[in-house]
């Protein structure tokens, strides 16, 4: 068993004004995982992930990134290892062209010019915006702006990507495209993806592991299929399972495997059982 890349050890966090947001959390995330973190607002999800890239430091306990405590790593170094993608790209975009925007972080690190040009093109290719490289960022659509923001983070070549609610306010196609992008980054480049979402269907479809938080503590942590069957604990966290999971759970003794997560998996399973039972076409 390899060492976890992100290790959260009994972390407590108190805001400067005294409110406590995290009450003793232990969490280990391994390289190459895709983990989704769910829970209602105020459960501590965003507060917790901000510890992973050093934006917040625990008031008690420790967070280790790559074996080294966050307290000993300057923010600049951490940004290269753990990238944080914000929900609102308008918070970050300010340059005159997409090229400048994406190369900004690299220029700060004094990376040689030709290396920068190469990385910028590679990264824009990954997010599918190479044709807009000289465009003014403010004239892009919301979805494109978000991809530029992601590209700017990817240019720093982080090993981990934290994505805070990538799908809120998006339409279905855009949300799906983003999730597919992160999936690609995980499969092709081995990046660890941690995403926070209110949209449970993305947890089951894209994340092998789901962490449910409630009131500053981790309530559930395990394979997504298993986590979403724990109905009582989910209720405590005000989390509703996605339709497919709920459906499979309620089908009980139908012979359907209980760890089905996606629409296509369930469809394949139904076809199998249907064939086995010698079923024919639908009749009224």
């Amino acid at each position: 068993m390899s060492q976890p890349f992100i290790s959260v050890k009994d972390v407590h966090y108190k805001y400067p004004d005294g409110t406590k947001a995290i009450y003793g959390v232990d969490l280990d995330i391994y390289e190459g995982e895709i983990v989704s973190i769910v829970g209602q607002n105020g459960s501590g999800k965003t507060t917790l992930v901000k510890h992973f890239n050093g934006l917040l430091k625990p008031t008690e306990g420790d967070v280790l990134i790559g074996g080294v405590s966050v307290k000993e790593q300057p923010l600049g170094t951490l940004a290269r290892t753990v990238g944080y993608v914000y929900q609102n790209p308008s918070l970050q975009l300010f340059c005159r062209s997409v090229r400048d925007e994406v190369s900004f972080g690299l220029k700060l690190l004094k990376v040689p010019k030709d290396q920068i040009a190469k990385t910028v093109e590679e990264v824009l290719e990954t997010v599918g915006l190479l044709d807009k490289i000289d465009e003014y960022p403010f004239f892009l659509t919301m979805g494109e702006k978000q991809r530029v923001a992601i590209a700017a983070i990817l240019a720093l070549q982080p090993k981990v990507l934290i994505v805070d609610e990538p799908t809120t306010g998006q339409d279905y196609k855009m949300a799906y495209q983003f999730m597919k992008l992160f999936e690609k980054l995980n499969k092709e480049e081995g990046k660890t993806i941690i995403f926070i979402t209110h949209e449970m269907r993305f947890s089951t479809e894209f994340a092998k592991r789901t962490v449910v938080m409630s009131r500053g503590k981790i309530l559930l942590d395990g394979p997504s299929g298993h986590v979403f069957t724990q109905v009582d604990k989910l209720k405590e966290a005000f989390v509703a399972p996605p339709q497919i999971t709920e459906l499979v759970l309620k089908m009980g003794e139908s012979g359907i495997k209980s760890d089905i997560l996606t629409v296509s998996e369930l469809f394949a399973e139904i076809k199998k059982i249907h064939k086995k039972r010698g079923g024919g076409k639908w009749s009224i």
């Binding site: 934006l55 923010l75 940004a79 914000y86 308008s90």
Partner: protein, 306 residues
């Protein structure tokens, strides 16, 4: 029915958010109309008309007593200590190099020599000015901690300012905090792409000002648009001709200037005028403008009382 919770759980005092921060809702100053409360600022700026440090100390002591009476949390005042240190240091420096109008040079009593000569006269001038500034600053902060945006609206209303003007002032006040909060968010977001402004020196920070200003302006312009949509959707009519448009002033309709408010306001104005005039009068004038220019004054004072 959802009930509101207090700002600080477990405490019996109800707090409310004022311009300065969270302070107790019910204080002895609550009986005053907002306009009267704002006049308190004038009272604690009167020291600028008075030179005598002992007289000004009375003002300073009074404003500190006001804080105690109104139960303003000490933590807020502590936030200001760095600023006060800088001000004190600045006053010290300016009076160290420039003579004061109250004591004409040449100066006699040397305290120390360190490349330049520092006289007792410089020192006493610094102290005199310092007491004035402290009274004024604490006075302003105090008033800001007993009024909120609604009070400013009501105060301006009683001075007959039109609604659209008051709306602008109130919104501008709030914008200050919104801008600050949004700027903090932007700075945090820029850290995520490798720009850590918090760890940079002043000069380097200035180089990347666009990284904060551009997103900030874009976000605030969008908010301004949305805000004006909301105003319109609730039937707001912007007009300079108030007779074309009959708007009810519900907020503050029950806050009228009562007798004690008017009395207080008149008192403040008279006090101000009295001090102004007194500076020119025979016996009182010199007392107001007096400064202990002779260090021998202190031991004699000591002897008198002990």
């Amino acid at each position: 029915m959802e009930t509101a919770t207090l700002a600080t759980p477990g405490s019996k005092i109800e707090y409310r958010k004022t311009i300065f921060g969270y302070t107790p809702k019910e204080t002895p100053f609550s009986v005053l109309h907002p306009l009267a409360r704002i006049m308190i600022v004038i009272v604690f700026n009167i020291p600028f008309l008075i030179v005598n440090p002992f007289l000004n100390l009375i003002f300073l002591a009074t404003v500190l007593i006001c804080y105690r009476v109104a139960n303003v949390p000490k933590a807020y005042l502590l936030k200001f200590t760095p600023f006060l240190f800088i001000l004190t240091f600045f006053l010290f420096l300016s009076f160290a190099f420039f003579p004061s109008v109250w004591i004409k040079p040449p100066y006699e009593y040397v305290i120390f020599q360190f490349g330049f000569t520092y006289y007792y006269e410089n020192f006493i001038a610094t102290v005199t000015m310092w007491v004035r500034w402290m009274s004024a600053i604490f006075g302003v902060i105090f008033v800001l901690s007993i009024i909120d945006e609604r009070d400013i609206n009501i105060a301006l209303k009683s001075l007959r300012f039109p609604y659209f003007f008051r709306f602008i002032v109130a919104t501008a006040l709030r914008c200050f905090f919104t801008f600050y909060y949004d700027a903090m968010q932007i700075i945090e977001a820029q850290k995520a792409r490798g720009l850590d402004l918090d760890s940079m020196g002043m000069l380097r920070k200035a180089k990347y000002y666009a990284a904060v200003m551009v997103p900030l302006i874009m976000i605030e312009l969008k908010k301004a648009d949305e805000m004006s949509d909301a105003c319109d959707s609730r039937g707001y009519v912007t007009t300079f001709k108030s007779k074309d448009y009959n708007r009810t002033e519900y907020i503050g309709h029950d806050k009228i200037l009562k007798f004690h408010d008017k009395a207080f306001i008149i008192f403040v104005v008279l006090f101000l005028l009295a001090v102004l005039i007194a500076r020119f009068l025979p016996i009182i004038g010199p007392i107001i403008k007096w400064i202990p220019a002779d260090p021998a004054f202190w031991p004699s004072l000591f002897q008198r009382f002990f």
